[in-house]
């Protein structure tokens, strides 16, 4: 079975130029933050934003060039004590804190492969792209589980 058969096509996606503030507003009714795909004008997947990226966005020492320096204190500064200017929300753009080195699957990959990737990187979701890199949708562990139960006749509706 291929990824495209259980893919969720209707997902919230954002452009690089979206501000942090607008991104947060987009998800204000969510309790958890999903994996958000970032696309360019032609719908080509260029990055993803995870909860960790959002948290890091509030912590200046973790954004940008410092991200990869070893031994830099990895403990998070207490988010509640950080002095954050209220303008920050409009100044920081998705482009500044999104993950460029993300993992994705192609729509014709097998489900086994997709699950293996999610397991290996402990991710609950993966963006799905076509050959040209265009975003097709997302696939989640729960979609996969539902499919497995459906396949075996446990879930019939």
């Amino acid at each position: 079975m291929q990824v495209k058969e259980i893919i969720k096509k209707d997902v919230v996606k954002v452009k690089r130029s979206v501000s942090l503030k607008n991104l947060l507003i987009l998800f204000k009714d969510f309790h958890t933050f999903p994996l958000v795909p970032v696309v360019d004008e032609k719908d080509i997947l260029v990055g993803i934003v995870s909860l960790q990226n959002v948290i890091d966005a509030f912590q200046p020492h973790k954004a940008g060039p410092f991200r990869t320096i070893a031994f830099l204190e990895r403990d998070e500064a207490d988010m509640f004590d950080l002095e954050i200017l209220s303008e920050v929300g409009s100044l920081i753009l998705v482009d500044d804190f999104m993950e460029r080195g993300y993992i994705s699957v192609e729509e014709d990959s097998s489900l086994e492969h997709a699950y293996h990737l999610m397991k290996l990187h402990s991710l609950d979701f993966l963006p799905v792209i076509d050959r040209a890199g265009k975003l097709e949708g997302m696939i989640g562990v729960f979609d996969l589980i539902l499919m497995l139960f459906r396949q075996k006749g446990v879930l019939t509706v």
């Binding site: 397991k119 979609d143 539902l146 497995l148 446990v154």
Partner: protein
Amino acid sequence: MQVKEAMKKDVIKVKRSTSLKNLLILFKDFHALPLIPVIAENEQLVGVVSLDNLVEILKSQESKLFRNIIFAEVDEDIFDLERVPSMGELILVDDMMSANFISLKEDTPLEKAYSIMRLHNKDQLPVVDKANKFLGIIGIFDIIWNMVKEKGIA
């Protein structure tokens, strides 16, 4: 600010006796499985069901037995297991829920709740009152959203 002010109260709950099939039907249109509280009489919280518990069911009997055994080389193949339709009725929430779980008291400050969630790598936790009565679920993004609002960012 306390947890009870930011939590979500209106969540789907299940009982110990709910079957796997009925649980799946409840969530069949979800794309991501939320944390499901398991409630006894008097709204007491007795367990939680998460995505991990569902993945567990799909694993073979052996790999469950060997979870804690060293050098067992359990490879976690959930595609291989032979499943029968009747397992939908046979497996109950009681068989798969985590009875040993973390919960937050309603008056926990959000700061504290946030650090507990980060430490244990959880993005949702159940909230209870002093008598362990279930009140709601708090998600990590609920906390972040509240902080953001307080600081006037959004």
